[in-house]
Symmetry: C2
Subunit: 433 residues, 2 copies
């Protein structure tokens, strides 16, 4: 069922879902309506798409308490511990403001500040993942964002998914609104009576959410538009085919467009993994999804050696890369492009999805070439600081004027000359006295 092919026959790049013209127009009209009519429009769209009429969108204290009863203790404890691990990892990404002083009195610096308000979109239905709440909200709180708010579509009973609410409490989320789809993105961008606008919107969503985020990009900051999940396993003869197959399936089950790829110089591992995939697929609950993904986007790629293997990996720039090779740390420096790298037989990719502490929001579809996993950096802004001294301006003023003139920007030059003129006058007066 999965192909075994030579590596040069394969490209994992999938065409990015751009939406139909009809979908784009629907999104634009939702954005315009919410911008104009605020909560009234949000309420109407919620009634239309989520089949429920809500007066208040914000999740109440009593709904939050109820949710705590509905989630089992084992899951809650695991979420708490996962959150602690995520905090520990992301705490190490926190950056300080810095200043650099010169003897001449000039001081230059960079100030790091958290964003003020971040909106996190959480899908409803079967894609309501509490782990994603942790992965998006914890780094924002670690960055120091005072207002982290969630929007998530209500169920037909008008309630939010209880596991989402519990994860939100654990992550320290400040407000939760039961609004979904493009109308949620509109509310977070323009603000309504009940929902204040945010500086940044993060989180996955369906095509309408993705199109809406693309549309408001620039008015607010948005995170990357996530594509279907991917895993590439680079393995040699030392790898256990049961583990390789299980890890490939863990990504294949996400979406029929997920890409699960084994790259190996070992024909015997290739054969054994193919057999294991068949065996493990048999009683998988999401078998049809995983099977379609393996058939359409999966592959076992045979390479000459690990050199070619790394070349293939770097060309694919996968979201997740597992290195199941002998002494994986010796090979780590050869990875140019990969969002998250898992080393050795015990670093099964779901360890990172749920628990280790690294982020599971990772660039897909080859964009690890130029993007990075979600991090504390995504929730801060920097300002540069210049305190220029009289001494430095006097010493360098004319150079600045020369550069401004060269570019034909004479008012730039004059702003400097106004000061140089005063310096000359002051120095003259000092000499005379």
């Amino acid at each position: 069922m999965i192909r075994i092919v030579r590596a040069d026959k394969y490209d994992a790049r999938r065409s990015v879902e751009a939406g139909t013209e009809e979908q784009r127009q629907a999104v634009q009209s939702i954005l315009a309506e919410v911008r104009k009519k605020g909560d009234e429009a949000v309420r109407a769209y919620t009634e239309r798409f989520d089949k429920v009429r809500l007066e208040q969108f914000r999740v109440s204290e009593s709904e939050l308490r109820e949710a705590e009863e509905l989630v089992c203790a084992e899951v809650k404890a695991a979420l708490e511990e996962a959150a602690e691990n995520i905090r520990d990892y992301h705490q190490r990404q926190v950056r300080q403001s810095w200043f650099a002083m010169r003897d001449s009195g000039t001081l230059l610096g960079q100030i790091v500040r958290p964003l003020q308000r971040v909106g996190l979109y959480v899908p409803g239905g079967t894609a309501a993942y509490p782990s994603s709440v942790l992965m998006n909200a914890v780094p924002a709180k670690i960055a120091g964002v005072p207002e982290v708010v969630i929007t998530t579509p209500p169920g037909a009973d008008g309630k939010a998914n209880p596991a989402i609410l519990v994860a939100a409490r654990i992550a320290g989320v400040n407000e939760i609104y039961k609004v979904g789809g493009a109308q949620a993105i509109a509310a977070l961008t323009y603000g309504t009576e009940q929902i204040k606008p945010a500086d940044k919107i993060v989180g996955p969503g369906n095509i309408y959410v993705a199109l809406a985020k693309r549309e408001v990009f620039g008015l607010v900051s948005i995170d990357m538009v996530a594509g279907p999940s991917e895993i590439v396993v680079l393995a040699d003869d030392t790898a256990n085919p049961r583990y390789v197959a299980a890890d490939l399936l863990s990504q294949a089950e996400h979406d029929p467009m997920s890409a699960a790829v084994l790259v190996t110089p070992s024909p015997s591992l290739a054969e054994a993994t193919a057999r294991e995939l068949e065996r493990q697929l048999e009683d998988l609950p999401r078998r049809s999804i995983a099977e379609a993904a393996l058939r359409d986007f999966g592959a076992i790629l045979l390479v000459q050696d690990l050199d070619e293997g790394f070349a293939v990996v770097n060309r694919l720039a996968p979201e997740h890369l597992e290195l199941m090779v002998e002494n994986p740390f010796d090979q780590l420096g050869r990875v140019e492009n990969a969002g998250a790298i898992f080393l050795g037989p015990y670093s099964s990719e779901p360890v990172g999805d749920y628990f280790a502490g690294t982020n599971h929001v990772i660039p897909t579809n080859g964009t690890a070439r130029f993007s990075s996993p979600l991090s504390v950096d995504d929730f801060i802004k920097k300002s540069s600081v210049v305190s220029y001294s009289r001494q430095d301006l006097q010493a360098n003023g004319r150079k600045i004027v020369a550069l401004a003139w060269q570019e034909g920007l004479h008012a730039h030059g004059r702003a400097i000359q106004e000061r140089l003129y005063d310096f000359a006058k002051e120095d003259g007066e000092r000499e005379q006295s």
Copy 2:
């Protein structure tokens, strides 16, 4: 000519240039043509838009040597010194990869790597600014990007602007191509016979360039789309109105849509600055541009006190903020939103544009709320690393399985269970022996 109004009457936000439908279609067709036909299409568009036919797009060694003769020594020396200052400042932004080890044997980390290839668009004509070449290319080289390439439209003589070429040499740019407009963005995105595709495209450009960048966003990384320049000066009675006016004009001369705003609790400073603006405008070469900017987007905003002044500043979130107040460092912590902050009477904004070392590519139009000046961070990518130990997987495996089950992702759970099964078996065998 400039308004003096109460602060609450003013909003600096300008509508973002979205382009006409016709412009968007033109850009889409250029992108599609270059994608399909490569250099042949680039050559045709260059002939049509730049009125010159080029066989080779790359600037030759002899053209580079010629450029060195055409730029005066004073400007060259000033560019060299500016580049040194930019290097010194940006060197402080460089981040290291890090690892964190646990006693249990688990190792988590974050790897920082430079992007492989960055394209820098440099406009032609009067907007060909060598200072911008330094501001974009130096941070990329400091980040360690091995291939920094420039595209810039040729003049009617088929040559590139010599000052751009000199700045490119000083900044360490690796390749320069004489291609402009949307066809340059297309070449950098898809690649052609002569121009290899880039991972990221930065730099300002006209509406066609901006639309093309927006269009290819996701296939490659792009920097923010820059709007017209802005300056806000927050000043009290201690400020020199000549300096305030000169600094306002230095931004007003950029573009008729530039915003130059004084915020002050001092009516006398307001009046004096208004008079100074009139006086200094009189013989300014770019007078008509500056006058239009001051009339349409400039303002002197009177506030009750500095408290209200900072509230206004933080609402406007200006690209450039000058604090010409007594003891400006005592006030620095009150700035929430500003791209670059200039303190005291000698930190005239052009000092930062050209020379101090901070970056002059700064978020405009209120986006300093969530964006940052261009920095080394814009030219790196991060990968997370997980090396999970047997001990930790045995201790935490069941928690991970519980979380996977809660989300209905059973193949995720099984990837862990495959290992747990082996652990149990190995431990059993050990006990028996």
